[in-house]
């Protein structure tokens, strides 16, 4: 006679080495690693064995895995419910997921919206009070509709470096363009710093009529891309694919951007593969990348 199995969902105490190690081992068995910046993890266990797990760090849900023989039993929904509830209690009501394309449907069934899905490689989904459509609406609000096809210019700047040294150059290029859009790469680790930079740039360009500045948020070449399901070359390829798709599919068409200047060292810390692939993909979207 079978005893009913006792499955419990539990928060992992990441400060305890043995617990962290146990989780890391479980993840290793399914080809995932444990990102050191993980803030919170839950597991579904029976007795001493982990059956499934999910974690998050910042807005990103990651390290989601269900044991093969435990699929189709509603464990994913239990995990994600717990993760979203914990995120909400920490004031985060926008959740992001990067996952392999074949897993996108599971998250969609839970209410996540697909932002981009580059089949078969990677899908980027989101849930909550913010969305890519809200972001593009925000961008759209700054432009006046017109029938003319435009060739606008975008500038990518980091939130850490001094902007003033670049203002002259940006102003000059903007004069040769209909509209210029400055995007500040969002630093997930210090959103306050990003906001400050946006405000500072806003001040600095207020005398120039055709320049706008935006926080890039999670959508415009963000700084954070999880490392838990791919490493090295593969990771930089996936990262580049997602970033290029986001820009080419949503941002550029909304603002009719045809040129993108990478200002200062925004991309310097990113792998060379990343740089190469982003450029190639954007060419397909008819966007020219230029360095400063």
């Amino acid at each position: 006679m079978n005893l009913s199995c006792n499955r419990a969902i539990r928060h992992v105490n990441l400060a305890v080495n043995s617990e962290k190690h146990k989780l890391t081992t479980f993840l290793g068995k399914v080809g995932l690693t444990f990102d050191e910046d993980t803030e919170f993890s839950v597991v579904v266990e029976t007795g001493n064995d982990i059956l499934a797990t999910a974690s998050f760090s910042g807005k990103i849900i990651k390290q989601v895995a269900v044991k093969d023989d435990m699929r189709g039993k509603g464990l994913l929904q239990k995990l994600i419910t717990e993760v979203i509830q914990e995120m909400n209690s920490r004031g985060i009501s926008h959740a992001l997921v990067y996952t392999r394309s074949e897993n996108a449907d599971y998250f969609k069934s839970l209410g996540f919206n697909t932002v981009v899905n580059i089949i078969p490689y990677i899908a980027f989904l989101e849930w909550g009070t913010e969305s890519i459509s809200q972001y593009t609406a925000l961008l759209k609000n700054t432009i006046k509709s017109s029938d003319k096809v435009k060739h606008n210019t975008a500038f990518l700047v980091s939130s850490e470096e001094s902007f003033h040294t670049h203002l002259t150059f940006i102003a000059k290029v903007a004069r040769q363009s209909e509209w210029g859009y400055i995007f500040v790469v969002h630093d997930a680790r210090s959103p306050l710093q990003t906001r400050k930079m946006v405000a500072m740039i806003q001040d600095g360009i207020s005398h120039i009529n055709n320049l706008h500045v935006f926080d890039g948020k999670e959508y415009v070449f963000p700084n954070s891309f999880p490392a838990y399901f791919s490493k090295g070359k593969e990771r930089s390829h996936l990262w580049a694919l997602v970033d290029a798709e986001l820009f080419g599919k949503y941002v550029a068409p909304t603002l009719q951007i045809r040129s993108l200047y990478i200002v200062d060292s925004t991309f310097n810390n990113r792998p060379s593969d990343y740089n190469e692939i982003v450029r190639k993909r954007l060419v397909h979207w008819n966007i020219e990348i230029l360095d400063v």
Partner: protein, 93 residues
């Protein structure tokens, strides 16, 4: 009545809904965000029920996030009431 702290009820299970409540400072009013797999057909209904329950419990300032997976009216009411009571402190989490 005032929500003393963030609270929650429900789950992402099929036919259930997840209710997440966050207190807001006085004057901020009632902010409701609903995501549903049947939003087109029932979005308005869920919104109506939510407002009804909040008003009946006399709450003026609150942020509500709902992820619905096809729940019936009675389930929606029950989860909302539970989440509110938890947020007020009437029910043990």
């Amino acid at each position: 009545m005032i929500l003393n702290h963030s609270s929650k009820a429900g789950s992402l299970e099929s036919n259930d809904l997840l209710v997440l409540l966050t207190p807001l400072k006085a004057g901020n009013g009632i902010q409701i965000e609903i995501n549903s797999i049947v939003k087109k057909q029932f979005g308005n209904r869920i919104m109506d029920i939510t407002r009804e329950v909040i008003n009946s419990m006399n709450i003026k300032d609150i942020k509500v996030i709902i992820q619905d997976r096809g729940a019936l009216d009675c389930t929606i009411k029950a989860r909302l009431e539970t989440a509110i009571k938890r947020g007020i402190g009437e029910v043990n989490k």
